[in-house]
Structures are given as C-alpha cells and as structure tokens.
C-alpha cells in the first residue's frame, strides 16, 4: 500500500470506481458530465464555482482538476484566486456568523 492517503496519480484512476459498481458509477459520471455542460451558466462560470467549492471541501484532487480545467478554458490566475476568496469568505463567514450564537449564549448566561 502507498504510505500516503493522497496520491496525485490516483486522480486519473477516478473513472475506475465504475468497475466496482457499474450502475452507480455510470449514473454519477453521467450526472457529473451533464452538470458541467454549457447551460444557463457557462461552462467557464461553472468551472470557477467548482474551483471555489474544491477549496472549501479541501479536496486536493478537485483543486488539481479545476486549476487545470481553468487553464484549459483560458481562465486567468486573477479570476481563479478571486473564486478561491469567494469560497474562503463564505467559509469564514459561516464560522463567524456562529459568533452571534456565542453572543446570545453569553448574554443569556450573564446577569
């Protein structure tokens, strides 16, 4: 076994998950492919959303995949970094908004 939980070479084996469950694997990849097609949102916009989410869920495979996808789509590094900040801002906001709960509890417990 590899001595590391993540191996970048595993990303290109992703498609193999279908081998152990043909039906679910195929359904997933069909769905996945459909989601990223040009639609009401452009494929370019969806790629940036995917990049932001990749960072929020801290998936190294996804970050590799959507950085490359962005380059392929001609997305600039400035656009990529802004997308990452959008994800990071929501994530930190999600932490900080709990500060209101802390304040409420503090007030409730204090005389």
């Amino acid at each position: 076994m590899a001595n590391s939980y993540y191996d970048s070479a595993d990303l290109r084996k992703f498609g193999k998950i279908t081998e152990w469950s043909e039906e679910l694997g195929t359904k997933f990849f069909d769905y996945y492919g459909k989601v990223f097609e040009e639609g009401a949102l452009s494929a370019r916009e969806k790629s940036l959303i995917a990049l932001a989410v990749s960072h929020v869920v801290k998936c190294p495979y996804c970050i590799d995949a959507y950085t490359k996808d962005g380059l392929q789509k001609g997305i600039t590094k400035e656009e990529m970094m802004e997308a990452v900040h959008a994800g990071a801002a929501i994530e930190s906001g999600a932490t900080l908004v709990h500060g209101v709960q802390m304040m409420n509890k503090y007030d409730k417990l204090s005389m």
Binding site: R12, A43, R44, L71, T76
Partner: protein
Amino acid sequence: MAVAEGIFSYRLVQHEDYEMATKSLKARHNELAESNKQLDILNGGIFATGELPFFKDKIDAIGQFPLRPKKLEILQINVGYMCNQVCEHCHVDAGPDRKEIMTRETMSQCLDVIRNTGAHTLDLTGGAPEMNPDFRWFVEEAAKAGIKDFIVRSNLTIIRANKKYYDLPEFFKKHNVHVISSMPHYTRGKTDKQRGDGVFDKSIKALQELNAVGYGLPNSALRLDLVYNPSGAFLPGDQMAMEKDFKKALKEDFDIVFHNLFAITNLPIARFLDYLIASENYEDYMYALVEAYNPAAVENVMCTNTISISWDGWLYDCDFNQMLGLKVASKVKHIKDYNEELLSNRDIIISQHCYGCTAGAGSSCQGTVA
C-alpha cells in the same frame, strides 16, 4: 517560468541582444535536440511498459493502420527555423541562433511544385518566415501561381521587431496573403499594464495594424485568423468558446477584430517535451492526451491531406515529423524529385506524439478537425 508567470510564457528576443535570450535546445546542446532521443522517450516509459497503449494499436482498432493519405490539399513549407522569439512550447526549437534557412535554389524547386500541384492551399511557416532573406521574393513568385489559399504563419511580434518589417501588413495585402498568427491569450487592461512593452503589446500593435489595412474585418477577403495554443501542460479548451472569449476581450479592450481562432494542442516534442519532462508533467500530459483520444479525429488528421517541406527540401508527413527527422516513407523523399502521385501512395509515419492531433476535437494547423 511558464507556470510561474502564467498565461504569457513567450519570451521576446531582440535581435541585438542574443545574450539575454533563451537559447534553442540545439544551441544549449540539450540531448533532446537529437530527434532520435525524442523518439526513444515517446516509444519508451509508460508506453513500453504497457501502462498506456501505443498510437498504432489505437488506430489499428478502428481499421486506420497503416494510416494513409487522402487527397493532397495543403503544401506546408518551412522556410527556416530562425525566429525573433524563443517560445517555450516551440516544437520547431526555433530561435535567433538557428541558421537553417531555405535557399533560393530550394525555393525555386518549391515554386515548380506550387505551379503544378493539385493542392489548393499553400502554407508558409518557420521560425519566423519573414526572417528568411528571400521571403518577399518567394511570396511574390508563389502568389503568381494563383493558389487558392495562400497562408503565411506570422508570429505578429516580427511586424514590430524591426523597421524593415513595418510594411508587412501592406505587403501581405498586396499579395492577398491569408495571415494566421499566434496569440497565446488576451489579457485585460490591468494585467497588460504590469507586463510592459513585451510580446503582448507588440502583438496587439501588430493586430491593430493588420486591421488598419483591412485584415480581419467582417466580410473582408483579407483573412486574419489567430492560433491559440496552451502555455503549459494542459490541453486547449473548446475552440468555439475560446474564440468567443478572445473576440470579446480583444474587441472591448483593444478594438481588434479577427476571423477565426484555431485552438491547437501542443505536441510532446522538442522544447515542449523538454518542458514536460523538466516540470515533471510528461506522464500526466500523455495520460491526458490518451484519455482525450477521439477516433473521429483520426479520420481527418492533417497528415492525411498535407505534405510538409523542410528548409532543405526534404518531405515529411507533417511539421512534427519534420522536427523528429522522420522523412516520408516513399521513394520520393526530396522536393527535387517531387511526384504527387507517388507520394500519395505511402504509409504515414506515426508515433506517440500523434495522440496530440487526435485529442478531443482533434488538432491541426487549421484548428480542430472533428
């Protein structure tokens, strides 16, 4: 540098200061300057171990092996490897230090062929073809042959490189040349300002000058197409979507118009192969090419309708095979013995670099093929 610097990995080389320039692999005595060393790499490693299939086996599975030419449509002539730029992805390994230049004698042999060919397109490439001292003479003579589509692949910066090239847009117009230019990316205002007076600014200026004489305008007979190829270890995106983005950005930011954008895949040979190996991207890139293999693209790969002629008159299936030193598998191997009928009866030489032309929507000097 390509990765760290992002989209613009072109390095502009001024004629006067060669020392500052990146040199060609050949000048650096890099072993990849040897084409058989490149073939060893393409035939070895992950292909030799069976991890990835050989190109031969992939096309054999669809009944396309051996790959055979169809009707000849395009004569592509490489008039020399000298260039004012040293682009990191260059499959020609072109640069200011390359002295391989087509002589007038070989040009005359080409002209004989151009006057008699059944091909409808003549495609001049390099290096920077304009740097060949006999370039203008050759264009004037070739234009007289009345070939339908006469292409010159111009890198744009050459038009601004030296005063003697400033009139190129007018010269191209005079001979009704179809200009195809490399343009690695559009960048918007802010990025551009940071980069200063580099390749981008010179290219923009050159495009504006081509527009000014009528090139690229809607409905203009003066064709101006752009070539995009990725500046790094990734494949080009959708050609139509890229064209839309390029058109919008160049129009809004610089009031530039052009006709079509050709998205071209970088083939793993010469300087691009060197970059892939040095940056440890080679295996991933080959995986990406093989994964993107599209049998429908095999049908129209450019070697099936093109003959490539080198600066010294040798014949090849394509510009890439030319750089790998793989002359056509035919009795006729040199322009002086040119015989279209004999040439059309040959097997096309392939190796693993061919995956570059069959990835996704396919790739050729005229853009996608599938």
